[in-house]
Symmetry: C2
């Protein structure tokens, strides 16, 4: 049974019981009954309350056992003390899914967590799915299912149906989203409030919404990732299906993560890895709640985007400059307009309007009341073949607000290219009417630009190779596993140097010419065979930080020098051996590359400028594996220190493609050996004009 099928009882149940139903329809146990009644839920609704005959027009039952049929879905609004007993009853009766509103479980401490684990056990044992506890329930608009105690819908109003599915770790934020998307006329296809995620989790809901025909955009608030593998799979399916995911994520700072932790009692995902996930899968990570709402609305309604060439029209030259600033920061270009476009603009605008990109619409609607150039000017820029998308910024037009609204509506409806309308200081009634009519309107030009950037990034992720493709080489994997199994590990799981080198070699990661030696004369012989300067490095169990212990001698060239250094290093520890390694030369740049384990996403790849740079700037890029060399190249180019690779201060450019290949190979290793590798460090990875060589590597297994 696939995950999708298993959530059917949650989103499209034929019958719903409300355990702990309240006759006060404004309370937790009463609101779902009122909402289901008002929205005319077509299935059966069973309030459970031993003290009532009827609630909200529905016949009451004393308990789940006495119901005339087994409900698909049971909602729990009972006090904490009664939850377990009622849940056991549901499990015994064969209820398919329980959604528990009640708080006081995993989010409060050890005692609550034990109760929550018991709930999960009961549900698992009965094959019953469990949403929550501490959640706000679910909505599925087409099924008229309002299995929630949200107060975001004003009494007497019905929820607007629409293309956005909500999935969220915060019920209170879900309430805001429902209210704002309702008021904006965007509307909802569905909502899942996850609470403490004892069973049903974020990724599973996303996956479900990918297959929901009413959903075009998945919009969520996320505190931590319970199952990174499942989230990657769901996001990959959403990308392939052309359904953008738009997220607000807390925990970027330690303080935020601490607050989030105590809220859902889950482990926060380090933000950098999450950002890498979002980048690779085209997930829009929003900077604010408002941006989340406006971006979801825009992506649900706008045509798909083709590129980053932006045409801007503004009611104000000043606002045009501000939009240009924001656009360049988000990676857009503002191309010059074609001559035909300029001619159309000159015909539409007064002679003192400067015809360029951004177009300043000047105050023509003041000087010529009743005449508006907006529609024609907007169409001219939109039709320019050099323009992929348009931002149109309007300002104060109280006296002609209806006309502005009409022109925006016409422009948006006609446009095959994305058109982000922004209306600053709007006449609010006209703005609301415009939104209700299906035109997404931003009130902030930054958000308009960021939403367009989200749209383009989605297309780029869908078209590119950033999304990991499961491309594993079983034979290589087997050899690597045998190599690791056969190596003698330290108590911490460190592989011996020879095994590390063999593992890199197996994955085609090149290393300097090197050989081990057990005594000084052997080192001298190796040096002689190499025909150039060498480094000597001590190999001794328990000596991990060789450099700090004085266990490395560099640039030795000459019999006496090699012999003396070898003797000194061999004396550092009993049983010590030596690695003799050819020195790497040629305008080199030191990188570091490695694998580290993220609690949610597992092994991820890290790459950065090494040496003093990483210590001073603490900068490294991360990616989820596996990925190709093109994405690895983008990863390196995104580093602030990327200029080093191109050569600065008269130094030659080094072979960045070879370095990218190493990262890509590491990502394949991570994908194939994710179960056995704990971490891997290549430091330094020396990149020369010709090659990228792993000079030193450490590998720890789980």
């Amino acid at each position: 049974m696939s995950a999708n099928r298993s959530l059917a009882a949650l989103f499209t149940p034929r019958s719903v019981a409300v355990v702990g139903a309240s006759a006060d329809l404004r309370r937790l146990g009463g609101i779902p009954i009122r909402l289901m009644r008002d929205h005319a839920f077509p299935g059966a609704l069973y309030p459970i309350n031993p003290n009532r005959e009827e609630i909200g027009g529905f016949r009451c039952y004393p308990d789940v056992a006495s119901l005339p049929e087994t409900p698909d879905l049971a909602l729990f609004a009972t006090p904490r003390e009664g939850v377990l007993a009622a849940l056991r009853q549901c499990a015994g009766r064969g209820v398919k899914c329980a959604a528990v509103f009640t708080s006081g479980f995993g989010e409060t401490g050890a005692e609550g967590a034990a109760l929550q684990e018991e709930m999960a056990r009961i549900a698992r044992g009965a094959g019953m799915r469990l949403l929550g506890p501490n959640c706000m329930g679910v909505i599925h608009t087409r099924s008229r299912l309002m299995a929630t105690f949200t107060i975001s819908i004003r009494e007497g109003e019905l929820l607007s149906p629409g293309p956005v599915a909500l999935v969220t770790h915060s019920g209170a934020l879900a309430a805001c989203m429902i209210s704002d998307l309702h008021d904006a006329g965007t509307g909802l296809s569905a909502m899942a409030s996850l609470g403490n995620e004892a069973d049903v989790d974020f990724a599973e809901c996303v996956d479900h919404f990918v297959d929901d025909p009413d959903t075009r955009v998945i919009c969520g608030y996320l505190e931590s990732v319970r199952d990174g593998r499942r989230l990657r799979s769901a996001a990959g399916r959403a990308l392939a299906a052309g359904k953008p995911i738009v997220l607000l994520k807390s925990g970027a700072t330690e303080a935020g993560a601490r607050a989030a932790l105590s809220h859902t009692a889950a482990l926060a995902t380090p933000h950098g890895v999450f950002a890498a996930f979002a980048r690779q899968y085209g997930v829009a990570l929003c900077r604010s709640y408002q941006e989340l709402i406006e971006t979801a609305d825009f992506l649900a309604r706008a045509p798909r985007t083709r590129g980053r060439r932006l045409g801007v029209l503004s009611f104000s030259g000043g606002a045009g400059s501000l939009v240009a600033d924001a656009a360049v920061e988000e990676g857009f270009a503002l191309p010059p307009l074609a001559e035909a476009t300029c001619a159309r603009l000159r015909a539409a605008l007064p002679p003192y309007a400067a015809v360029r990109n951004p177009v300043d619409l000047v105050s023509v609607m003041v000087s010529k009341p009743g005449e508006s150039p907006i529609a024609e000017a907007g169409a001219a820029v939109r039709d320019d073949p050099e323009v992929d998308a348009v931002v149109l910024v309007m300002g104060v037009y109280h006296h002609v607000a209806a006309q502005v609204a009409k022109e925006l509506k016409g422009l948006f409806a006609d446009s095959a290219k994305p058109l982000a309308c922004c209306w600053m200081a709007p006449q609010r009634a006209e703005l609301q009417a415009l939104r209700k009519a299906g035109v997404p309107v931003f009130e902030d030009y930054n958000r308009a630009v960021r939403a367009l950037a989200a749209a383009v990034s989605f297309e780029e992720a869908a078209a590119g190779e950033a999304v990991p493709k499961p491309s594993s080489d079983p034979a290589r994997r087997d050899r690597a596993l045998r190599l690791i199994a056969g190596a003698s590990k330290s108590p911490e799981g460190m592989l011996p140097p020879a095994a590390c080198r063999a593992l890199l070699e197996l994955y085609g990661i090149r290393q300097p010419a090197q050989a081990e030696a057990s005594y000084a004369e052997e080192a001298v012989a190796v040096w002689r065979g190499m025909g150039g300067p060498v480094a000597l490095k001590v190999i001794a169990e328990g000596l991990v930080h060789k450099s700090d212990a004085g266990g490395v001698s560099l640039g030795l060239d000459g019999e006496g020098a090699v012999r003396a250094a070898a003797a000194r290093l061999l004396g550092l520890a009993p049983g010590a051996r030596l690695l003799v390694q050819g020195m790497v030369v040629g305008g080199e740049v030191e990188l570091l590359a490695g694998l580290s384990r993220d609690p949610a996403f597992g092994l991820c790849v890290t790459g950065g400028i090494g040496g003093i740079f990483v210590e001073v700037f603490e900068e490294a890029a991360r990616r989820l594996p596996p990925f190709g060399e093109k994405e690895a190249g983008a990863m390196l180019r995104g580093l602030r220190g990327a200029k080093l690779l191109q050569g600065v201060r008269g130094r030659p450019a080094v072979n960045a493609a070879a370095a990218a290949q190493v990262l890509s190979r590491l990502s394949e290793m991570a994908a194939e050996l994710g179960e056995v590798l704990a971490e891997l460090d290549i430091n330094p990875l020396i990149v020369t004009q010709d090659d990228a060589l792993a000079v030193d590597a450490r590998v720890r297994v789980v």
Copy 2:
């Protein structure tokens, strides 16, 4: 006559003429007449129109010459062709100030610029002040002066008076600001739309508003700085007067600057220098238009801020996490709450609410309709002695919106500490009523946090030494000027090395032991006298980049080595001399420090990590001079590479205080010699454990 007095006729005229008055009160030449009539301007109003007897109830005159009195202020709504003639009439009649709405001057090209220059000449010649052209005029609320053609006030409404003065390079953005501050109930004290700034400029208006008793906050949109010295002076006076300046600035990117340029035809100020100015003077630089409006509103109404310890209460644990993320990013800490605070919170909140910072108010208003813990919980956190300011985030409370509004109002009114209220997904009617009642309410928690940060930064700037104090040493200045005058300069204005060294010495900037030598044996003698390794550097006219020309030999220690290097260097150019310089040793870090000329602000100080870092990361900090060593230290600590100074990879920390002293001394030099220095480079400034030494310096004079 001070600048303030000279703008009196602009903001508080006793009589106003409207040249080019229109009988259509919706048009450019009619709107001011309608607005002045509706707002009951108490002075005389004279429409000028030869074809009318009367407009809007005011008697018309055919021209300025035939007016019964000389008006203080003349507004120009005439077509471009008629402006110059009418302006000459005003000048002849002795009009004190002209405000020109008409477009088509400096913003359109060379021809328009020539016309504009002629306008400025006419005005200057007659001692008449000129606002614009291409401007939207002025408002002064207390004088009921509405000398503007803005359409931001709906017909039938009167402008709300209030504490915010607007000054702006964009009339269209001013219209938005007027509308939004009016609708928010904040209100305006005054507005100045500057247009092309042919005469009256941004800084002068800011300076005027500092002395305006009705103004508490100065809020503006700025494209470029016409006169940096005047802006610094005005901002310094505003800081001293406790009146925050809140700005939106375009031109952060080249594309934005280009758009801004064509808009106001002025030179864009490089953004980094402007950001330095804003930081030093406590000017809030906003990231968006909405942030500008909400920050101005908040600063106008909130009590002054004492520190960066933030208490957060939220309707949602999720929103609390997001606020914590934003707060930490803006430099706030979220301290643990005192035991007494926790006790108050436990008494006010349900048992399952987690009592910590941020406080999660949970869904108590749902589970117990009618009971609200907001006021008591908010007061508890506000009263905590460890808390300097409070953010209170509310969400969807449609059913109890009136009560939420009441509690926010009470909390805000009672609070001696800044309290930033944020209401997400609000009931809009209640929100509007709350704002009209004087409570600044944010709709975005990021903006709430950023506004609090602006408030704190203002206090910090007022308390600190970041604001340049004019502390010049006339004797030192005289000696420096004599030194520069007496030196022989290159055609580009470069000072000879000896003069550069003398100038640094005069300002107490230490240098390595060094002496010049004309022949090899002299160099050997100098080396011998120094008693340690030396560097030899060639000195030859026209040889600026010594290193690139092979003109530097480092680490020479020994008679033969010095002699050989000296001979080689002396052969590089006819008439070459040598600098013999003691090598600097001791765990050093290379910085660069210098002065460069900003088109608006003049000489400013630059400091950064030198060597390969500056080429790879292109990072440097800037400050306006002069400033003290504490501010210089903050400047260095703000660099991303600041860790180098603390010592990394086992290297010792270097003397960062000595480096800060150099920057501070440079800032004094800039303040004293701003008229004669074009640029100065110290590269490298080598910082050792003991000292900071200027190893090489170049100085160019104007």
